[in-house]
Symmetry: C2
Subunit: 201 residues, 2 copies
């Protein structure tokens, strides 16, 4: 947490951002269940009613706190505007880029951690991911079963985040990002484009 | 937990199994840090010194509690004995089988949950996974960079576990296991066999 003051702050973007910063802190250290609007307000040095005024509920505060500073729909639009052969590499590079940038990595890992441990948070995250990332990704996929394809791409992203950045399994954790993109892009290409219907051996 | 008794139990396989069952319970509800040898002993109705006698340390108790009731090295040996074209499907089917069987799923998810939230548990899991699963898998891979390939296969397994069984993203969560095997096997085939060195577009 940065600057704190005593008593309610003047309303405005700074206050909102200070509340979010405190909320990120508390959600990641205390977990979803133990974090309260009152506790966040108190730690941020603002009237808890102001937290309620800005965010309406703990659920919405959580969603706002862990939201990535990029718009998934815009990012997806950009990547899919590329030449078809470059789409998979673009998706792989965008996903690994989210995990390589410390600002976005912190939030992505906070979401994954919360989802792993708290069923209540998992439900919120399921809905948030579905609306913000999987729906636009599904819309961009031209093959059959686009929703299943999008959720498999989501699963491969979560797996990479866990193995490389949370558990830090070697040598994956110390492999240069561009080499991970090379290894990962064909997986994205498979989930985007390959035929589902072949029978396993 | 099943049967409990007061006071120290007679030593033997039943006691050991009762301690492990209680430990699984406590590690998954209290988390790694809050679980103690004393607390496990007390809840299992045995002298805490007996817990120490059997397992030596909390670290070893955790490893024993979450160990899968299958031997990864034996499973890997079996799968790789198949015809080469069937190895990827065999690996995919074995991994999804671990997550479909309630007994093994509970332990796999307990490991993933602990790894996601507690750095101390993550370090233990990293070592355990490396020794028990990644080393034999690495030994079975015939291409270059077998360790990196094995850790990428591990990452895809963790991602599937998180997305399908923990967050339960739809439609992945309700897709029949055999269809997930069909979608997943080519990813395993890619990590096992494809050339790493191609340059991304």
């Amino acid at each position: 947490m940065s600057a704190r003051r005593r008593g309610p702050r003047a309303a405005g973007g700074d206050t909102r951002e200070a509340i979010l910063e405190t909320a990120r802190d508390q959600f990641s250290t205390l977990g979803y269940r133990a974090t309260t609007l009152r506790g966040v307000g108190s730690a941020a040095g603002v009237d808890p009613r102001l937290v309620l005024h800005y965010f309406g509920s703990k659920r919405e505060l959580f969603s706002a706190a862990v939201r990535l500073p990029v718009d998934p729909a815009a990012l997806i639009g950009e990547v899919f505007a590329n030449d078809a052969t470059e789409v998979a590499v673009g998706v792989a590079r965008a996903l690994i880029g989210i995990l390589e940038d410390p600002r976005t990595r912190q939030r992505a890992l906070a979401v994954i951690r919360a989802a792993a441990t708290e069923p209540e948070a998992a439900a919120i995250i399921r809905e948030m991911l579905t609306q913000e990332a999987l729906v636009p990704l599904t819309a961009a996929i031209v093959r059959d079963q686009p929703q299943l394809r999008a959720s498999l791409i989501g699963s491969s992203f979560v797996g990479l985040a866990m193995a490389r950045y949370v558990v830090a399994v070697e040598p994956l954790a110390s492999t240069p990002p561009e080499q991970v993109v090379r290894a990962f892009a064909p997986v994205i290409a498979h989930y985007l484009d390959d035929d589902w219907t072949e029978t396993p051996g």
